[in-house]
Amino acid sequence: MKFATPAGANPIDRMAIVGRAHPRIDGPLKTTGTAPYAYEHQHLESKLAYGCIVGAAVAKGRITAIRVHEARDAPGVLAIVTAQEAGKLGKGKRNTAKLLGGPEVDHYHQAIAVVVAETFEQARHAAGLVHVDYDRTEGRFDLATALEKAELAIDPNAAPAPKENRVGNFEEAFAAAAVKLDASYTTPDHSHAMMEPFASIAAWNGDELTVWTSNQMIDWGRTDLAITLGIPKEKVRLISPYVGGGFGGKLFLRADALLAALGARAAGRPVKIAMPRPLMANNTTHRPATRQRIRIGCDAGGTITAIGHESGSGDQPGGSPEAAVSQTRLLYAGANRLTTLRLAELDLPEGNAMRAPGEASGMMALEIAIDEMAEKLGMDPVAFRVKNDTPVDPEKPQRRFSERQLVRCLEEGAERFGWSRRNPRPGQVRDGRWLVGFGVAAAFRNHLDMPSGARVRLGRDGHITVETDMTDIGTGSYTIIAQTAAEMMGVPVDEVTVRLGDSAFPVSAGSGGQFGAANATAGVYAACVKLRDAVAQRLGFNSAEAVFADGRVTGGNRSAALREAAAAGELAGEDKIEFGDLSKTYQLSTFGSHFVELGVDSYTGIVRLRRMLAVCAAGRILNPVSARSQVIGAMTMGAGSALMEELAVDKRFGFFVNHDLAGYEVPVHADIPHQEVIFLEEADDKANPMKAKGVGELGLCGFGAAVANAVYNATGVRVRDYPITLDKYLDRLPPVD
């Protein structure tokens, strides 16, 4: 189905099932521990062996010798694979650094060998007996230094585009502005830190490979595994029905899957591998650190006349920049504009997508800058944002937003939160030992179109089965897909079985970039339209007029049970959603507002969140239960990036030092108070037939800045370097003693 014109009325508009709160259909499995994750598939015929990954001990250099004899002689060892044994490997389209290093080492903890043994304990022990000599060479590990000589770069998602995005004359307008802000911000490297480690089981049957894995994007993983192994894609099957969190870390083929496949081939047995937690931060990808400069010029009345946002980040050679300026191109008005990205080569581990790549880091900076500018103008930060709202793409004014409810998000949020109680003078509100502050930020994240396919079957018993390689990484895919098929076919949700995460099923959007829910359900919609046609034809109805409801098909003065259509044999509909030019004609984005109240301990400087509210406008909300959880989860991650998360770089040895869950702190229960989320009514007919957009990343974008702005309101101290930890402002708190 090609989606090329705005969606008209369609069966989803009934919203008898879609858009209603429905508990997750996978809930009973997940809460009882019976949902199988990658490492847990037991039903193989041959006995599984265990693989353990050996990570490089240096960040940059060359392996001069690997001595494996001691490991090979250790009890239970079946095989050891290094780059040398593996032979020539390709590199996946979406991998920057090689997944199996050697003899060159590209980054710390890059996999350089896998040891396969009969038991987990034996494999782990033998991995420690692989002795490696390195010729360590100098690497580039300091972003600030590397950026001094770095070139401008193009955001690969915005290509083709000029290296500088300019509108009007930014420099002149900024120089002439009545009120100016010129400030620099930094965000550190972040780790996805999903709870399920990277894990895979690989089994060969002749030249056919099956991999049970934990991957957000089945077809990308399958393609890149085939490329890396140099075998036809048709010979590779990936299965990933449950994914224990991804956040972008599992978008790509990673070392666990590749080494399980190589280990299984070498051992002649199926092999399972889970990446040890202490290896994850350096072996895999992370959200790259940024250094950002923002300049805003306004007239005395608070109208933005110039806005400039320049961001620099680093990556392995051949990598890409963190597109931290993308929201600045679209969020606020302003006649003169400049946005640029700079990319430095670094020898730290590979930087890549993490939840809301670009906007997450960019909004952390931009929304502090907006707060600072509002203060310079003596304006309320909500009012300043409202004043500079734009109904059109500021770079291409002929291009409108399909839907844009930013102002409503801000104003309704302010009302609900009691924003008027905020004291605009910082450092004034005390509650015992606590300095109390309010903060606000806009939320913004683009919506992305992705083609997505599905197959929907009507069984002889009238039961509906949906099959797609879409994944559920906690996003609620199982449930919203069941709701979509139930709505389209006119059956209750429990008459629908959803099967996901198998490359034997039609290729879907996959899970990433908050594009999963809207596009995957649109693909299911398309397949359901096909199935409805087949049903109507079989039962002799005019497909365009037939109504599917209550397990029946009705048209004209006739009605038949849906299951009758399959009485003579199962019917199936398969299709995919594809997109025309609507997303070029219109800008498809999601908007929101974040409000935060927090306390800063006047003695120690620790920050404790008290209240948080998000108001979101993101198209049709397919299931308010799972959508709300996506938003509160994103806010929680935003709290982490605001207050504690930082991969600490050792600039001498070139690695992330705090590479486990004790060292890399993410929020715990005690950090997060009750969270409130409001979804505004919206149905975006330019997006897809579901009239839905993404929402899973919107809740992250801007939240960190709302925290930063609240810390400022509480203390009068502006921190522009994340995370906002007490050591950065302790000396500026009121004196004690």
Partner: protein, 169 residues
């Protein structure tokens, strides 16, 4: 290899294990009770929480041999998809999970936390250590802090627990 016997979810089990085998790996790899999850294997996440001898512990930081003779309850011992434990049902009702990987540990911990509060085990957030703790929001959040949920379902988990605690009276 050494023998070990314990009761898991009421059933006597005997295993002969490499002494290095943790309780977690004994459950997952030898008894195929994979509901208990391995998130970090270093006591930093809580996904492996089980109840041993009536107390919740991190199964990853215990050798199986240390539990010879113990009674162990895992997530599989609390309820099944057809017959959910009240805490499991409350997690479903309040959407107290997303990806589901930390969930069995959260559920085991939540059950144990309500028991700990009932038994008067003190916590960091108690204003007065000599008063009996209550199942308040902040008490439950503090006591649940050894169970990390990167999907950020904390707010919903607290509501699920409050539901169960309230129902208990």
């Amino acid at each position: 290899m050494m023998p070990v016997r314990f009761k898991v979810n009421g059933e006597s089990r005997e295993l002969t294990l490499d002494p290095r085998t943790t309780l977690l790996d004994a459950l997952r790899e030898h008894l195929h009770l994979t509901g208990t999850k391995k998130g970090c294997d270093h006591g930093q996440c809580g996904a492996c929480t089980v109840i041993a001898g009536g107390r919740r512990i991190n199964a990853c930081l215990s050798l199986a041999l240390q539990h010879d003779g113990d009674a162990i309850t895992t997530i599989e011992g609390l309820g099944t998809p057809d017959k959910l434990h009240p805490m499991q049902a409350a997690f479903v009702k309040h959407d107290g999970y997303q990806c589901g990987y930390c969930t069995p540990g959260q559920v085991c911990s939540a059950v144990a936390v309500l028991d700990e509060i009932a038994r008067g085990v003190p916590s960091h957030v108690q204003a007065d250590l000599l008063q009996r703790p209550q199942a308040s929001n902040i008490e439950m959040r503090e006591r649940m802090s050894g169970n990390i949920c990167r999907c950020g379902a904390y707010s919903n988990i607290a509501e699920a627990m409050a539901d169960v605690a309230g129902g208990r009276g």
